[in-house]
């Protein structure tokens, strides 16, 4: 077992867990944050996406010891109780979530994409989200949600 200490959604946490525990299980089973989903467990679907030090990663492929001292953001850290994050609001309005199982990962991937490309082209969106599989939407509503978020951010400047 190892004591793993890191910053999770703004607060410091310490967990005693086997060092090879997948970050996904650390979040879901040890810390009871179930917004991060498991779709494949092999890095293909992106539904376990979280941000580690601002970079998008698949939490099913991260051994927990490697997040020692890191900053982790999950879907629970994005919006607030009373206020949806603009990405969440746009996903809601544009129909970007259907069954919702890919949605937390997709929203974090969108967050990462918009950090790197505040005004992404359609091709940048297509590439930026291509590691997040969605079986329900055919992605079109998701693209609109991303574009809408970018537009609102631009207008808000």
């Amino acid at each position: 077992m190892s004591i793993i200490t890191f910053t999770l959604n703004g607060s410091q946490v310490s967990v005693d867990a086997p060092p090879m525990t997948r970050l996904l299980d650390l979040l879901r089973e040890h810390l009871h944050l179930t917004g991060t989903k498991e779709g494949c467990g092999e890095g293909e679907c992106g539904s376990c996406s979280v941000l580690v030090d601002g970079e998008l990663v698949n939490s099913c492929l991260v051994p927990s010891l490697q997040i020692q001292g890191a900053t982790v953001t999950t879907i629970e850290g994005l919006g607030e109780q009373t206020h949806l994050h603009p990405i969440q609001q746009c996903f809601l309005e544009k129909g970007g979530a259907q069954c919702g199982i890919c949605t937390p990962g997709m929203i974090l991937a969108t967050h990462h994409l918009l950090e790197k490309h505040p005004a992404p082209t359609l091709d940048e969106i297509r590439e930026g989200l291509s590691g997040n599989l969605c079986r329900c939407t055919g992605y079109m509503r998701i693209f609109e949600a991303v574009q809408q978020t970018a537009k609102l951010a631009e207008a808000g400047k």
């Binding site: 989903k37 919702g100 949605t103």
Partner: protein
């Protein structure tokens, strides 16, 4: 006062959308019960055989495990669907790989995995078959035989006839034959199958990811020999289903419940991706053979269609899938004479099951490819051929159903071709293709999809819905119809809100719980919007009638007045509840024996156009642009409806050119997301969704079904476009680059294809394969 803006037809926000975007929606694997332990399944590693021994290996503390075999089943050892041939756990004979034999439960998930691996099963192998051809071969081993089946290895047959097709061959100008086939397709919902079961005081409760709580409810009653009221099923947030959680939850639900009974603790069973892909249902593989008599001006004089599907090892839902496939095999065309023979055969693959479209995508694929072959043979354009044969109002379908709705397929085709720039593109591609390594093409498919259960199905379902006023005075819809992404919650609340003249956000919908909600039928068959929606509308009217009759509600009212009146009524009478039960429209008739009549109350109609590129260096086909025009009656929610169509088209594109199940002796060899290729956001073209709205009297505010339709058209439209691009016809989907390569690089293999036969030499060699 009625709300100023209509609610139906407006983009009301998804009912449970906020919880989903916040990551707060709780799916089955997100739930934890006190004392809960985990369950796992030991499965057969072989396709068919007799079990001779089960050994529990060394190094596992077996006394800590709950172990369930078929002997622990208190009731019947069956997962009931249409028949009872499907055992809950194998007793002696294994009929497919991955068949459940032993169930294990333990508090420690990781130990459970080791225990599963430590169980070895010895068996005496028996001969097995894996394809339709092997199953129907004259010397095939008999792998399934039952009084309920039509003959050995055949689960079900249908014969559908119109006119007298035997008379047309002599007078036909052309007789055109073709054979078309489709592969299995994995639903690939991103959330795997999962349930939690609890067994207390002789009653069983299962929470799970599912489409049809009452299916599992029924299965539990039989497996546990318990009365209805002792079985309870609760659907929790479901991460995609597409048919894949129609019948399978009955299997995993019964399994978890058995473990819960034996262990005395709540048991969670959630499959991982490998197990879900290997062991659960997929779309039925199919084969369609066409023989068509056509006049020289391109009119369909008559046809024979043989439609066969591979049902896997047990009957499950195959007869119903076959039925829908059979009826849709004739398409939106006028057939003066037609004979369709259809059969579902047994193989030693895991049972195939429901997947969006339910047999229709398979037979429509065959027909729409065949239509292009007919056009080519007769020497007219695919467009012209369809125009000469479209069903018209006043005409009758292959089942003899009179078309009463004012459909205009010609107009729809014109619009779809215009929107897509079809004619200009066709001309351009003909010019540019000869000198370009990238061949471009544009093709289309025209088709329809029936809403609701087939034939007398809705009459038998006899669905019931209720609306109840809650403690805050808000109406709550009680239905067993489930939300798994398609928008059930939202559209039903919209219908109720509009009917009750109150804001959308004032309406609630109950979590589907068989102890609370009446049976409004399964959430399948594109029936929810039309059938259940209509019942919600009726129940809302009944609620209003009841409130008005009590004198508590005026003719016009504000939402606040509604709320006060509702609460006042409740105070006086204890509860305020209205129901509505399905009543078959008086003018709809279906004859199950003759397989004739009004197959569906209403159809959705569509024209889908695909533009493709085929790179002759890599043999890869890619869809570059897509137009989906459909007439689905009133569109209840434009954002949700678009999302349904886009999602369906994406699955259809996958079906056409990406998604291949690789089988090795009944085992899915590519049961991983890395090797089963579904389209990513970088693979899909723009999808232009276009609606026409001809209100139907059968649905609420004129709505019809929309869920399955978009799965039907993409594959044939895309393969038609690929033929346009390459000049070579491909009659199987999925069509992978390797298949395109096989034909493009080996021109000799092309002439060997029966579909390339010249009409003059296509004699009456249509080999009968249906019994």
């Amino acid at each position: 006062m009625a709300p100023k803006e209509p609610i139906v037809g407006a983009p009301a926000l998804r009912y449970e959308g906020e919880a989903k975007v916040l990551g707060r929606a709780k799916y089955i694997d997100d739930l934890h019960f006190p004392q809960m332990i985990h369950g796992a399944t030991v499965r057969s590693k072989f396709p068919r055989g007799r079990i001779t021994a089960i050994r529990y290996g060394e190094g596992v503390p077996w006394d800590e495990f709950t172990i369930v075999t078929w002997r622990d089943i208190p009731g019947e050892n069956t997962i009931v669907h249409l028949l009872k041939d499907h055992p809950c756990l194998v007793e002696e004979i294994v009929n497919h790989p991955e068949e459940p034999i032993v169930l294990l439960a333990h508090p420690d998930k990781a130990l459970l995995r080791k225990a599963v691996d430590a169980v070895t099963i010895e068996y005496e192998p028996l001969p097995a078959v894996f394809t339709i051809e092997e199953s129907e071969a004259p010397d095939a081993p008999v792998i399934w035989n039952s009084e309920a089946g039509d003959s050995p290895n055949v689960f079900k047959t249908y014969l559908m006839e119109k006119g007298n097709v035997d008379d047309v061959w002599a007078s036909a100008d052309y007789i055109i034959e073709g054979e078309y086939s489709t592969g299995a397709q994995e639903q690939l919902y991103i959330e795997n199958n999962g349930v939690i079961a609890e067994y207390t005081e002789e009653s069983v409760t299962v929470w799970g990811s599912m489409q049809c709580p009452y299916y599992l409810h029924h299965a539990l009653q039989l497996a546990f020999a318990l009365p209805e009221e002792k079985c309870r099923v609760i659907q929790v947030e479901t991460g995609g289903a597409f048919g894949g959680k129609e019948d399978y939850p009955s299997v995993i639900g019964c399994h978890a419940a058995l473990l819960a009974m034996k262990s005395g603790r709540p048991v969670k069973m959630v499959y991982d991706r490998l197990e879900d892909m290997a062991a659960t249902t997929k779309r039925h593989p199919s084969r369609t053979r066409h023989r068509t008599a056509v006049s020289k001006d391109g009119r369909l004089l008559g046809g024979e269609i043989e439609f066969a599907i591979d049902g896997g090892a047990y009957v499950t839902l195959s007869p119903v899938v076959l039925s829908r496939g059979t009826i849709h095999a004739a398409g939106p065309y006028n057939w003066p004479n037609l004979r369709i023979r259809a059969k579902a055969v047994a193989t030693n693959c895991p049972p195939h099951g429901a997947f969006r479209g339910f047999g229709a995508p398979q037979s429509i694929f065959g027909l729409e490819r065949h239509m292009d072959l007919i056009a080519k043979t007769v020497g007219i354009t695919p467009e012209e051929l369809r125009r000469r044969n479209f069903l018209q109002p006043g005409g009758s379908t292959a089942t003899g159903q009179l078309i009463k709705d004012p459909i205009d397929l010609n107009g729809m085709l014109t619009r779809a071709l215009e929107e897509s720039g079809y004619h200009a593109k066709r001309a351009e591609f003909t010019k540019t293709n000869p000198t370009s390594p990238i061949k471009r093409g544009i093709g289309f498919a025209t088709f329809m999809h029936g809403a609701g259960f087939t034939g007398s199905g809705e009459r038998r379902l006899n669905s019931l819905v209720a609306i109840e006023i809650d403690d805050e005075g808000s109406p709550e819809i009680l239905v067993s119809s489930t939300e798994f992404g398609q928008g059930t919650n939202t559209i039903l609340c919209q219908v109720a809100a509009q009917t009750l003249h109150i804001p959308y956000k004032n309406v609630r919908i109950a979590q589907p719980d068989t102890h609370r909600v009446p049976n409004s039928g399964p959430t399948v068959a594109s029936r929810t919007a039309m059938i259940v929606g209509k019942l919600v509308e009726d129940a809302s009217h009944n609620l209003l009638t009841c409130m008005r009759a009590s004198g508590l509600l005026e003719e016009t009212y504000t939402p606040e007045q509604f709320c006060h009146a509702a609460l006042a009524y409740k105070q006086k009478h204890g509860e305020l509840r209205a129901t509505a039960r399905y009543q078959a429209p008086g003018d709809i008739f279906w004859d199950d024996d003759k397989y004739r009549g009004d197959a569906y109350p209403a159809y959705a109609w569509a024209v889908y156009v695909a533009e493709v590129e085929v790179d002759t260096r890599t043999y890869m086909a890619e869809v570059k642009n897509f137009w989906a025009l459909q007439e689905v009656g009133k569109v209840l929610n434009p954002v949700l409806a678009k999302g349904q169509v886009e999602g369906g088209v994406a699955q259809g594109i996958g079906y056409a050119i990406y998604e291949k199940c690789v089988w090795k002796d009944g085992v899915m060899a590519n049961n991983q997301m890395t090797n089963y290729i579904m389209p990513t956001s970088a693979d899909l073209p723009p999808i232009h969704v276009l609606f026409e709205e001809v209100p139907s009297i059968h649905g609420p505010f004129g709505a019809k079904g929309i869920g399955e339709l978009p799965m039907d058209g993409p594959a044939p439209a895309i393969l038609n476009a690929i033929e346009e691009a390459t000049g070579v016809c491909f009659n199987h989907c999925p069509l992978l680059p390797e298949d395109i390569f096989d034909k493009l690089a080996n021109p000799t293999s092309i002439s060997a294809d029966s579909s390339q036969l010249q009409p003059a030499v296509a004699g009456p060699v249509f080999s009968g394969t249906t019994s």
